[in-house]
């Protein structure tokens, strides 16, 4: 076989792989959305779940998904960004920095079930929060934290060094340079990173089953952080495994589709402004 035939075969093979990946995704999407979209109705999306009879909705779960996500980001963003800024900018190459870096990587590698256990004992039991939105979002924040640190660090590092030098050479303090130049310039990639974190958090179930519980408040929306907070993905788990409502299968399909749509929408919602900022920053180039 000549090297040129090999090359041609390899090229075909690589294109085929690309195609397989796309087809695989398309199959997932068609399967999930195809099965689930017909289940979606206004009533399903906003309605309260029915425990025994068919025809309930997932309104509170949808609300809780976002509420818990919001709270967990509220806890983890400041710390995550803070630590990320430290690593990207202040950290000297020394043992302390290495130590922090290893900690972040270690935290990132913790299996979510371990976070679940930790949150369950720390927040649910010891701190007496019971199964609650607060307990769930605090634990989820631990999961988000290392990813946010990394995202921040990477985003800041990808800002050209020249901005940093230019600002300091004009006599700014480091904090001024970070706040006025680096963070704004890093914003688009920061936002993309946060979207990924959010997508992951929206889909998380192992952690929340143990900390936020599998039931919802009777009120919608209920902003009480101490009420139980079943989310869409834990609801999906619950419905497919133990629900007795006759339409459990349909609810599962609908929830899966809704969950996917939410993640998609979230990506779009953040991607668009982040593209716009990017465009503005780069002067339309």
């Amino acid at each position: 076989m000549t090297s040129k035939t090999t090359d041609r075969i390899a090229t075909i093979f690589f294109w085929a792989t690309g195609l397989i990946i796309v087809l695989l995704l398309a199959w997932f999407l068609i399967r999930i959305l195809g099965d689930g979209l017909p289940m979606l109705s206004w009533n399903f999306i906003t309605g309260r779940p029915s425990e025994v009879r068919a025809g309930g909705g997932v309104g509170p779960q949808l609300f809780n998904s976002f509420y818990i996500l919001f709270l967990s980001l509220l806890f983890s963003l400041p710390i995550g960004i803070g630590a990320g800024v430290y690593l990207a900018i202040y950290a000297k190459k020394n043992q302390f920095t290495d130590f922090i870096r290893v900690s972040v990587e270690a935290l990132a590698s913790v299996p979510s079930i371990v976070f679940g256990l930790f949150g369950f004992l720390l927040f649910v039991n010891w701190m007496g929060l019971k199964f609650s939105i607060l307990g769930g979002s605090a634990t989820l924040a631990l999961l988000n934290l290392p990813v946010l640190v990394r995202v921040t660090e990477v985003a800041l590092r990808s800002v050209p060094e020249s901005y940093w030098e230019a600002s300091l050479a004009l006599g700014s303090t480091q904090w001024q340079a970070i706040r006025k130049v680096l963070l704004p310039a890093a914003l688009p990639s920061l936002m993309t990173g946060i979207t990924l974190v959010a997508g992951r958090a929206l889909g998380e179930s192992a952690i929340l089953i143990y900390t936020a519980g599998l039931s919802v408040s009777r009120y919608l929306p209920d902003f009480n952080i101490f009420s139980m907070g079943e989310t869409l993905s834990t609801h999906l788990w619950y419905v497919q495994s133990e629900a007795i409502v006759p339409d459990a299968k349909n609810i599962a399909k609908g929830s899966a589709a809704l969950l996917l749509l939410v993640v998609l929408a979230f990506n779009l919602l953040i991607a668009i402004p982040s593209r716009m900022i990017q465009k503005k920053l780069s002067g339309g180039k």
Binding site: S3, K4, T6, D7, A10, T11, F14, T17, G18, I21, V22, L24, L25, F28, R31, I79, G80, G82, A83, Y86, I89, Y90, F99, I100, S103, V104, E105, A106, L107, S109, V110, P111, S112, I113, V114, L117, L122, N125, L142, L145, T173, W175, Q176, I178, L196, G199, R200, G203, E204, S205, A206, Y210, L236, Q240, A252, A256, L259, V263, L264, N267
Partner: protein, 313 residues
Amino acid sequence: MSSYADQLTDSLEQARKEPSKGNRWTRGQHRNDRIMRIIFVGSAILVSVIIFSIIAFVGWQGVKTFSAVSPSEFFFSTDWTPSKDKFGAFPFLYSTMLLTLLSVVMSLPLALAGAVFMAKIAPSWVREILRPATDLFVGIPSVVYGLIGLTVIVPFLAKFNEGFGYGILPAAIILAIMIMPTILSISEDAIRSLPGRLEEASLALGATRWQTIWRVLLPAARPGILTGVILGMGRAIGETMAVFMVIGNSPQMPKSLLSSTTVLTTAVVKDMGNTHYGSTWNNALFLMALVLLLISLLLIIVIRIVAKRSELK
């Protein structure tokens, strides 16, 4: 001319008149700078505190198991019968390893080929489609993967195994898809971040694209690819819900790839809710969580070694 000189003296005079204002502002900025620095360092320290409290906590709770169960029983016995005080966790460890390896092996060809395709072959518009597509794989919640495993893969495999489709194989298929984007995107970055001059050098010597990829790019990107594989492994080891739905959950050694078994994560979820805090059984579950944690940390160390080696080169 004169107006310019006037301006200059004006501004100088002004500076002399209000030196304190500028100073106060500068002092304030310096203070802010110091405060923010403390905040950043504090945040960084907090991250360390969190991971150490998790390790300490899980470790402390898990190690208590050894007051009732010998380490050799826990790690090497295959008999897990808590009602008879038998806590042999070997089947879980074994299945975890097997499942992880299998899912990486299944995932790797697709992920690597996809990475090469996206980094070097696909025209940019195809890449623009593929990149968000692989991100979307990450966005699909694990429960949904599990659901598909349960409703599609398990029944399908059942056709070939006397009606039984649960076990490591369906779990590995699901995991292979779940970790594919991780391996793919990290490998792609690794390949893409290779200096373009390597590729140029090879092509300029009359190598075909395939020869360049196979002989130069992939070997040069090996550390990055390895990192991707290890991170993918980490994900596979830690995945819980999707695996739980398809693996069968029997506390026994798998007799084949289609035989009900349990991995560490699912062993923990299955019983954590209903064992009493402080009981040996419960402690054993924490010990499993600790083992999971240690395996994950070990993988991190491996990554760092790999990274360091490639740095030295």
